[in-house]
Amino acid sequence: MNPVQSLAMLQNALTVGAILFSLGLVGILTRRNLIVMFLAAEMMLQGISVSLVAWSRHHGDWGGHVLVIFVLTVAACEAAVALVFVLQAFSRTGRLDAAAWQSLREATVGRTVDRELPAAGAAPPPFPTLTRAGVQPPGGEHAPLEREHV
């Protein structure tokens, strides 16, 4: 592979990495669902991993590859821990909304409301259930098979 080709490949890979990172960043800044935020953070991590692999390949150095393998390993552990936190947070408040924890703010600062949350103690959000295979779904043909939003 000639240097020009190599540089072009690096550029492509870095672009993909940057796009992944930015998408993740935007996701983390805009979404309030804890699981989605976590997924966005993972996406940022993958963006970085892609650029690490790209640089590593460009320089012909295996260090970056090795580092990415480590990152993946650690990310797997971290995912387990993070999901436990999310689960605990959900069981406390019954919500996956990060803004449900804004009571941790400074006492003198007012509450931030962009959209009112569903009232506490209201009916718990329905959990998605998988339709049993080979069985006629209940509620007829026109009944919605999934929740409108998460």
Binding site: L25, I28, L29, T30, R32, M37, A98, A99, W101, Q102, S103, L104, R105, E106, T108, V109, T112
Partner: protein, 751 residues
């Protein structure tokens, strides 16, 4: 018997009580009513070892008579345990300074070329010589008797283990004080006994008077301790070492110690003049603090707030003798400064007289004994101040007999107090000899010894002290001219020293005018003062005896008697009466035994400090001074008769005394207004200063600190607004921060 060499035994004397104290502290709570066992075992072991050591030392002293009689040579043994601190090049005195000049004397003594740089080392050394052996025996045996007594007296006290731990700790500290062979160690244990005394006076610390008395004792002692600290510094500057004994340096040269045999053999070895006098006066100040001499005596009467056994052990028999020990130990230093030596006697005799006068009007039995202690310590100082061998040995002799009979009197007073339900005011009880026969009989023996009635202990020791003073007042009668010998040392030293300022030291010394005090007239006055004190001593002692034990039996309502054979008995339990009987036998016998055999004086004269030429040359043949004995006995008889007229058979006390003494009675009852004068001159100004300091602290310093504390609060008030509790905001802030850094870096890289 390799394991029981004198050195091992010597270490055991302080070590056993220390172990006892530590065990009592560790196990005290678990042992409960048996908490005295470890402490008492430690003290008992120490007492046995001390007596063994006394015997071992006595074997080394050359016999006084017989075919083997020879000149007294010093007996000492040093056990160096470890080196506490060691520096080379600790100090270089500026050339031409007094210290450099004296150093050259020391170098010449040691046969060295000299050199100004001095090392500094503090070996932890214990010494054994006749003085130390005597002191150790007194401390441990009185300590043991007091510990036995305390098991009865302190029975049921919630602080029972604490008391015994403190007593054992005190015995440890005091043994170390008298066994230490280094001025710095002496200082350390000087403070340690002060601390034990503080803790024991304030033993019942919930009682405000006890807490106040403990504080007072500690603070007044600080004044004396300050003198000792400065004195030790000055000793090091002057002699370049703090060791008592000669040491051998790693180079193999003999370093003469301050009281070592090299220096003792050299008549010019001790600094006289201004430096020597300053050292002696500072040591005297220290001794005045610990031994409650004028003007630092005010703490001792108040110290009677502590438990009575503690008063007996510490504030009568042992700790207060530390000052006597210090002066006796430093005898060669004092012998080089006749003026300072005279001042020791003046302080002592004045204290003896003043304290005796105050003692005559006290109504608190323990306070009578407290003033009596001050007075008797004054006697010892008067005796030390004569600077003669007789004076020094008489002081230690009196120290020994006083330890016996004063401990006896205090323990007797404690027995009375114990039975009278804590009442110690002599006006509230009387005629106790019928209900407390053992206490009354032993107290009477102690009183006879204190009053100096033959053949009880006090008679002989007091006679020797009077003889020592008499010999100075009427030298021709005794055929003595020690003044010549005493001044020889400093003169030679001054001529030897080429340093100009040091050579003029003697002149500066004369300017103080202390030397002019050393005249026969002064000593005659001191003799008459001491004789008057002897009469007063007999008076107040028997006043106390008559008020307490004679007349119709009266007991205060709080007393707890127990009926026996139809009539009530208030006698104390056996653990309390047994030490009384032992001490009574000692008080009756020890004076006559030691005087008749002249054993103690001969034994003590082998102490290295007392073999200094200036002291040893004043030795006089052992004699019984019939004329002085008659005068002393007459004084005592007058005192007893006056006391009998006033108080035998329980007569009213107050009006009679007031009519007799007039305004003097007010003066005595107010203790010569010492407390009021100190309150006005020292306490009030210090309180005002403390008030100012407190205000400055509260408003200026605290104000500044508070002002600084407001800064982070204000900053926090601004930053606090960012704490919205929304994760996205925090994440955004982080992203913005990273972006800012990236932009700045890019800017920098481009530029």
């Amino acid at each position: 018997m390799q394991d029981l060499s004198p050195a091992t035994l010597l270490v055991l004397v302080p070590l056993l009580p220390l172990i006892g104290a530590i065990l009592t502290v560790l196990l005290g709570g678990r042992l409960g009513g048996r908490a005295h066992l470890p402490a008492m075992a430690g003290i008992a072991g120490a007492a046995v070892v001390a007596i063994l050591l006394l015997a071992a030392t006595a074997r080394d002293v050359s016999p006084a008579h017989g075919p083997r009689a020879e000149p007294i040579r010093p007996v000492e043994m040093i056990a160096t345990l470890w080196n506490w601190a060691s520096f080379d090049d600790a100090y270089t005195p500026p050339p031409g300074s007094p210290a450099a000049a004296v150093r050259s004397v020391a170098d010449a003594t040691a046969g060295r070329a000299g050199g100004d740089v001095r090392g500094f080392s503090i070996p932890v050394s214990l010494r054994l010589d006749p003085l130390t052996a005597t002191m150790l025996t007194i401390i441990t045996s009185v300590g043991l008797l007091v510990a036995i007594y305390s098991t009865g007296y302190m029975h049921g006290d919630p602080g029972y283990p604490r008391f015994f731990a403190l007593v054992a700790m005190f015995v440890f500290s005091m043994s170390m004080l008298v066994a230490a062979s280094n001025f710095l160690l002496v200082y350390v244990f000087w403070e340690a006994v002060g601390a034990c005394s503080y803790l024991l006076i304030g033993f019942w610390f919930t009682k405000p008077e006890a807490a106040r008395a403990a504080k007072k004792a500690f603070l007044v002692n600080r004044v004396g301790d300050f003198g000792l600290a400065i004195g030790v510094f000055l000793l090091w500057m002057t002699y370049g070492t703090l060791d008592f004994h000669d040491t051998i340096s790693p180079q193999g040269v003999i370093m003469p110690g301050i009281l070592g045999q090299t220096r003792l053999a050299d008549a010019a070895g001790y600094a006289g003049g201004a430096v020597g006098t300053a050292i002696c006066l500072l040591l005297l100040l220290a001794a005045c603090g610990k031994s409650a001499q004028l003007p630092l005596h005010v703490w001792l009467p108040d110290a009677m707030e502590g438990p009575t056994p503690a008063s007996a052990l510490i504030h009568a028999a042992t700790m207060v003798t530390a000052g006597i020990y210090l002066v006796a130990r430093s005898a060669p230093l004092f012998a080089a400064c006749p003026g300072a030596l005279t001042l020791v006697s003046i302080v002592g005799a004045t204290t003896a007289l003043v304290a005796a006068l105050i003692g005559t009007v006290q109504n608190d039995l323990k306070r009578v004994l407290a003033y009596s202690t001050i007075s008797q310590l004054g006697y010892m100082f008067a005796s030390l101040g004569t600077g003669t061998l007789l004076g020094f040995t008489a002081a230690i002799f009196h120290l020994l007999t006083h330890a016996c009979f004063k401990a006896l009197l205090f323990l007797g007073a404690g027995s009375v107090m114990h039975s009278m339900g804590g009442v110690i005011d002599m006006r509230r009880f009387g005629g106790l000899r019928r209900v407390m026969p053992v206490t009354a009989a032993t107290f009477l023996v102690g009183a006879l010894a204190l009053a100096g009635v033959a053949p009880f202990a006090g008679f002989f020791s007091k006679d020797e002290i009077l003889a020592a003073l008499h010999a100075k007042g009427w030298p021709s009668a005794h055929g003595e001219h020690h003044a010549v010998v005493a001044t020889e040392g400093p003169l030679r030293l001054a001529s030897f020293a080429t340093g100009a300022s040091f050579a003029t030291g003697a002149a500066a010394h004369d300017a103080v005018g202390l030397d002019t005090l050393d005249r026969p007239e002064t000593w005659r006055l001191l003799f008459w003062m001491s004789l008057a004190t002897a009469g007063l001593t007999a008076f107040y002692t028997f006043r106390a005896v008559f008020m307490t034990f004679t007349g119709p039996t009266r007991v205060p309502s709080g007393a707890h008697g127990h009926g026996e054979h139809g009539h009530e008995s208030y006698e104390s339990p056996a653990p309390m009466t047994l030490p009384l009987i032992v001490l009574a036998v000692a008080s009756a016998a020890v004076g006559w035994l030691l005087f008749a055999t002249n054993w103690l004086s001969h034994f003590l004269s082998a102490t290295p400090s007392l073999t200094a030429a200036a002291v040893a040359s004043t030795a006089v043949p052992h004699a019984f001074h019939l004329d002085l004995a008659i005068q002393g006995t007459l004084a005592a008889a007058i005192g007893i008769v006056v006391a009998a007229i006033g108080h035998l058979g329980r007569r009213s006390d107050g009006p009679q005394m007031e009519r007799f003494l007039g305004p003097l009675q007010t003066l005595f009852a107010n203790k010569f207004y010492f407390d009021q004068i100190y309150t006005a001159l020292v306490v009030r100004p210090l309180e005002a200063l403390s008030l100012v300091a407190a205000l400055v602290d509260r408003h200026v310093i605290d104000g500044a600190v508070d002002a600084i504390a407001h800064v982070p609060v204000a900053v926090g008030g601004i930053i606090r607004r960012g704490q919205s509790g929304l994760m996205q905001r925090y994440a955004l802030a982080g992203v913005m921060g990273v972006l800012t850094i990236v932009v700045l870096l890019a800017w920098q890289l481009r530029g």
